[in-house]
């Protein structure tokens, strides 16, 4: 499939749950699509909406924010809840900017969910593939 669109996905993962979940997918040797570039932050609450906008501006086709399961898994108690609030505000902003909100996804993936991590990446990759390249990349 030489012409298949391979999206670039940026993942902002919290250190304690989702980054560890990604590591677990590795130690369990679960194979998933190689479209994700991971940035580790200490908490999903650290994810400044500007990070997401910058990623899109730089040509990422999709951005994944992942943290610990609400309500109580967050290492920092409520960082995931803050991430969630910001995420929904960010979606409104994306609408205003004319960026498809499907390009930004928030997921809860725990340190014991390697399987789920790979499933999310595969699903999200297919979702972005269907959307096509980020239109900001051309401009």
């Amino acid at each position: 499939m030489p012409d298949r669109f391979e999206p670039y996905i940026l993942g902002l993962l919290c250190n304690w749950c989702s980054y560890a979940g990604a590591d677990l997918a590795g130690t369990s040797r679960i194979q998933y699509s190689p479209n994700l570039r991971i940035i580790r932050v200490m908490c999903s609450g650290r994810v400044d909406p500007r990070f997401v906008l910058a990623a899109l501006k730089n040509g990422a086709d999709g951005v994944l924010i992942a943290g610990c399961h609400p309500p109580s898994d967050c290492h920092y108690l409520t960082g995931n809840l803050k991430a969630r609030r910001r995420y929904y505000l960010l979606l409104k902003l994306l609408d205003q900017l004319g960026i498809d909100r499907e390009r930004v996804r928030l997921e809860w993936i725990s340190a014991s969910e390697g399987e789920r991590f790979s499933r999310v990446i595969n699903e999200f990759t297919e979702q972005i593939r269907a959307l096509g390249p980020n239109p900001l990349k051309a401009s």
């Binding site: 670039y8 940026l10 304690w16 560890a20 990604a22 590591d23 997918a25 590795g26 130690t27 040797r29 679960i30 194979q31 998933y32 190689p34 570039r37 991971i38 940035i39 580790r40 932050v41 200490m42 908490c43 609450g45 650290r46 994810v47 400044d48 909406p49 500007r50 990070f51 910058a54 990623a55 730089n58 040509g59 990422a60 399961h69 109580s72 898994d73 967050c74 290492h75 920092y76 108690l77 409520t78 960082g79 803050k82 910001r86 790979s118």
Partner: protein, 653 residues
């Protein structure tokens, strides 16, 4: 940054884990093209001593001031390489790990081309980030030698004794009027058949008399502020209305008290008075007046107990006391609650009198229990001839708790053996999903129960319990999953082997201490394997069933581990904190206070119209930095600039 970055890049083969998937030489060639890279090398195992030597040598010969290792996950070897830098007199925070194993070659094993491209991206992002890393200094805080232990069950007592013996000052806070916890209610303990009280009560006495242990019973921790080395604890102690020093436990007050309420210690199977001794070996050995059930704390309402109290120990004027403690470490050992089967319709517990819980059975088996050791049916107080155990009540069930409670198989077998020892002629049948006899001596214990004692084991979970309304006998329905046949067994008494549920106070402790619980509702370890008694809050440790279901030996081991963990935090007198804290740029901060509201650790305050961050309280989540409208907050090691650089380099192929 005054110095031009000089980065050394080390690519690890990790045997064939990495080099067996991607062409490491191609990655090496790519590494050499990256900006600021002075040295790039590959090696079979960079984490090994020769691998580390490679880095050490280059730091000096090539004057490296940044190091990037592309290998496994930072959770595995970041600490290893940071130590290398520190030993070579470089700041350990000038190190960056590129995770090309767990997040690349192990998950794209069948796609080496893409794996190589991904490795290049990961490496490029790491090198770019490394170039702008800052030389942070680890911070030291002073730590004293005072520990707070919350919960006076076997775990709390053990931790208190270990710390006390080690010369640390211990405050042992227990919610009930006596220490001893759940273990005090048990009759015998598997698989050694030690009498529970015989092994527990001497420890209760030692801890109460220990010169380094201050015991606070009938007391609860209401608030904790501060951090390791500097916890300020507010304890609220309820009045017992009895002077512990004067009370001689003569029992005259209880004899005359006109109020009777169900006795918690006997699982509600007997009555106690409103003024009572929780149990004969209670520590402190003092009566307590339960002011909820007392007719009124005044001679006008009743006052009979005060009249008969010869040593004049009863004082109706006692009031709730607020006690403030300064401690350096905290051990949480708040224990569990037995699972309450009232809402499980299939068992009809609470409706059919002859359905009892295992704790009620435990009390009946106890010679100082409500029936003085005689096992009877609650409906007619006759001795049952056919007893059925229903296993996994409140455990391993999607509708209740998914987890295994770890003790029910063994205590049911233990009780069955005790029953058969006393009355070999009765029939005891255990309905189980599978028998989990995993501990030392457990399997042998289980085999003997079946072989030598004639306990019957039927594989199948109890589906339903019905009652013959006249005889009050029970009909137990289950599927024998070995033969596939539905079964109906008539029994005189059914015992529900109830599991271990999180203590009802867990939510309160969680709120006060800000330590997380897992999906099961028990407190979470900092790492399930390697830090099993630490929590994510430095200086707060967990022990016993508060961290998950476990038996007595496991609770004791964990308590000893927590005590040694607390001791090793306190013994050096100082504690090193990772410098992952947020900092405020005073020249930008407008003092709006948004960060103050967001901080879950109350680490931020507004002083002189500027946000002030207490570095020791800050845990480095960065929630404030991402919300600061002025961009005045800098989250160390994860600054906006550092994250933005990674974002930029992630897609700039």
């Amino acid at each position: 940054m005054p110095d031009q970055p000089r980065i050394g890049v080390y690519l690890c083969h990790c045997g064939t884990n990495i080099a067996g998937v991607i062409d490491i030489k191609k990655l090496l060639a790519y590494a050499e093209t990256l900006p600021n890279v002075v040295v790039a090398k590959d090696y079979t195992y960079v984490c090994s001593d020769p691998g580390q030597q490679l880095i050490r040598k280059d730091i000096h010969e090539s004057k490296l001031n940044r190091v990037v290792v592309a290998a496994c996950s930072p959770t595995l070897h970041e600490a290893t390489f940071r130590r290398v830098l520190q030993e070579e007199e470089l700041s350990p925070y000038l190190f960056e790990m590129a995770n090309i194993r767990e997040q690349d070659t192990w998950v794209h094993m069948k796609n080496p081309e893409e794996a190589l491209e991904l490795a290049k991206d990961i490496l490029r992002m790491s090198v770019a980030r490394a170039a702008i890393l800052e030389a942070l200094e680890p911070k030291e805080v002073k730590v004293g030698r005072r520990a707070l232990i919350i919960g006076g069950g076997i775990a709390g007592i053990t931790a208190a004794l270990d710390l006390g013996n080690g010369g640390f000052t211990v405050y042992l806070v227990e919610k009930s009027p006596t220490i001893g916890g759940r273990m005090a209610q048990l009759d015998k303990t598997f698989p050694t058949m030690d009498c529970s009280s015989c092994i527990l009560t001497p420890k209760m006495v030692s801890v109460s008399r220990h010169p380094n242990v201050k015991l606070l019973t009938y007391a609860e921790v209401k608030d904790v502020q501060g951090f390791i080395g500097n916890f300020k604890v507010k304890v609220v102690q309820k009045p017992k209305y009895v002077d512990e020093k004067k009370c001689t436990s003569c029992d005259e007050c209880a004899k005359i008290c006109p109020v009777e309420v169900p006795d918690e210690f006997n699982a509600g199977l007997s009555w106690r008075k409103a003024i009572y001794l929780p149990f004969p070996q209670a520590v402190p050995p003092s009566y307590v007046l339960d002011d909820v059930n007392c007719l009124g704390l005044t001679p006008l309402a009743c006052g009979k107990c005060k009249d008969v109290c010869e040593p004049d120990a009863i004082d109706y004027d006692q009031a709730t006391k607020e006690i403030e403690l300064d401690v350096d470490t905290i051990v949480v050992a708040t224990g569990y609650d037995p699972y309450n089967p009232l809402n499980d319709q299939e068992y009809n517990y609470g409706i059919f009198q002859n359905v009892v819980t295992s704790l009620e059975m435990e009390r009946m088996l106890n010679s100082s229990g409500p029936t003085t050791g005689k096992v009877v049916r609650p409906s007619d107080l006759k001795e049952p001839k056919r007893i059925v155990y229903a296993q996994c009540v409140g455990s391993r069930n999607e509708r209740t708790n998914l987890y295994c409670s770890r003790v029910c198989c063994m205590y049911a077998i233990k009780q069955a053996r005790q029953l058969k020892e006393k009355h070999p002629e009765i029939e005891v049948r255990i309905f189980y999903i599978d028998v989990r006899a995993f501990g030392k001596g457990f399997e042998e214990f289980y085999e003997r129960a079946a072989r030598d004692y004639g306990v019957l084991f039927t594989r199948g979970r109890v589906a339903e319990i019905l009652e013959d309304p006249r005889s009050r006998n029970l009909i137990v329905r289950a599927e024998d999953t070995l033969s596939g046949n539905p079964l109906e067994v008539e029994a005189d008494l059914v015992v529900l082997s109830v599991g271990i549920a999180p203590n009802a106070d867990t939510a309160e402790i969680r709120r006060v201490l800000k330590i997380p619980t897992g999906p099961d509702g028990f407190f979470s370890e900092a790492h399930p394997k390697l830090r099993p008694v630490d929590t994510v809050v430095d200086g707060v440790l967990i022990a016993g069933t508060t961290a998950g279901p476990k038996d007595i030996p496991d609770a004791v081991s964990q308590a000893k581990a927590a005590a040694s963990g607390a001791a090793s935090l306190m013994a050096p007198g100082v504690y090193v904190v990772e410098p992952y804290y947020a900092m405020v740029d005073d020249s930008i901060c407008g003092g709006c206070g948004i960060c103050v509201l967001l901080c879950p650790y109350r680490a931020i305050s507004i002083e002189d119209k500027r946000a002030r961050i207490n570095e020791a309280l800050c845990k480095g989540c960065g929630a404030c930095a991402s919300a600061c409208p002025a961009g005045a907050i800098r989250m160390n090691h994860f600054t906006d600039e550092q994250v933005m650089t990674q974002i930029e380099h992630a897609v700039a192929r």
